[in-house]
Subunit: 165 residues, 2 copies
DNA sequence: TCCCACTTGAGACTGAGTCTAAGGAAGAAG
DNA sequence: CTTCTTCCTTAGACTCAGTCTCAAGTGGGA
């Protein structure tokens, strides 16, 4: 889905629920649709780059608003601040992350989801959501790891490489 | 496993690797084996209750030490600070949490683990660890939710109710 | 046009976690 | 036992992300 297209769908979604899409919120959402995963502070900087008058609080409030309405998901990876991603029309997916280089792969598996449902039923729970993260080493980093025994502790930088639909 | 027993196994584990179990570390571990899940700050308070001279930094360093050696796991649930739990001799398990009352259930499913392995293989990754959290409503909270429409936003308190072996 | 509820900007505040500096154990070697 | 050296600890300052407050701004409906 093209960014502008996604923007308009979100615009529509909010309008349908009479949630005001103020100018500030528009700017924030405009930046979001151009990114995959981002942290709150990244988004603050990003937005302020072009609109310095938009306050930090406003960005955080917008994040909260979108989350409450199911348009945005928060993901706690293991290092650094939580990452967000728009979920609007996208299919549900989980994440696989390389601990060395920070590459993130999105995956989805129906069987996995089905097993989850069965498990939760056993306990009489009603499933609301879940978070499934796999951590490991990508092909590239596995090789690198063998050469340099001492872990070259580069701070993993998050980056999206591949998306599975 | 009895607390004292678990303590001694950890003691042994560290001795085998010539990792010093100082008096301070002993006090921290002694408290840990008496708990299920705990946050770092809870542990600081807990330890300082009986040993006020043990610094906050020491508790954090001990948490890091145990994590590095695979004796302790860190879990990011969605609200509040991350929780820790000793994993020493215990079987691997994942967590199911009630969003209303904070009850935590531990579960394990071989099929789930197998599917994970298959998925990660597809991407040429080598799995190091994973985090699988299910969030929902327990039987009790489902009923309560129907009565009081407005969510009674009690701050969920973590509590272990049931363990699956 | 006026009102009122909602939204915002600015900045203070909080809590969790990290870092630093100086002093304190404690094995190893002599 | 004494010295050396390395590791460990304390206390408190510091950082960073996120939350809260409040006065001022905004805008849609009567
Ligand atoms: Mn994603
Ligand atoms: Mn557990
Ligand atoms: Zn990698
Ligand atoms: Zn419950």
């Amino acid at each position: 889905m093209k960014p502008s297209e996604q923007f308009h769908e979100i615009e529509q979604f909010l309008a349908d629920r009479s949630i005001r899409l103020t100018l500030q919120r528009q700017h924030v959402v405009q930046r979001m649709v151009k990114r995959e995963h981002f942290t709150a502070e990244e988004m603050v900087k990003d937005v302020q780059q072009t609109h310095p008058s938009i306050a930090r609080g406003t960005v955080y409030r917008t994040l909260a608003l979108l989350q409450e309405n199911g348009l945005l998901e928060k993901h706690d990876f293991r290092q650094g601040a939580p990452h967000y991603e728009l979920t609007h029309g996208r299919q549900h997916h989980d994440h696989l992350m390389c601990l060395q280089c920070g590459e993130i792969i999105e995956f989805h598996d129906d069987k996995l989801e089905a097993v989850q449902d069965r498990i939760i039923e056993e306990y009489g729970y009603q499933l609301v959501s879940h978070s499934h993260k796999l951590y490991g080493l990508c092909g590239v980093c596995q090789k690198k790891g063998k050469k340099t025994k001492k872990a070259n502790a580069k701070p993993p930088k998050l980056r999206v490489m591949q998306s599975v639909e």
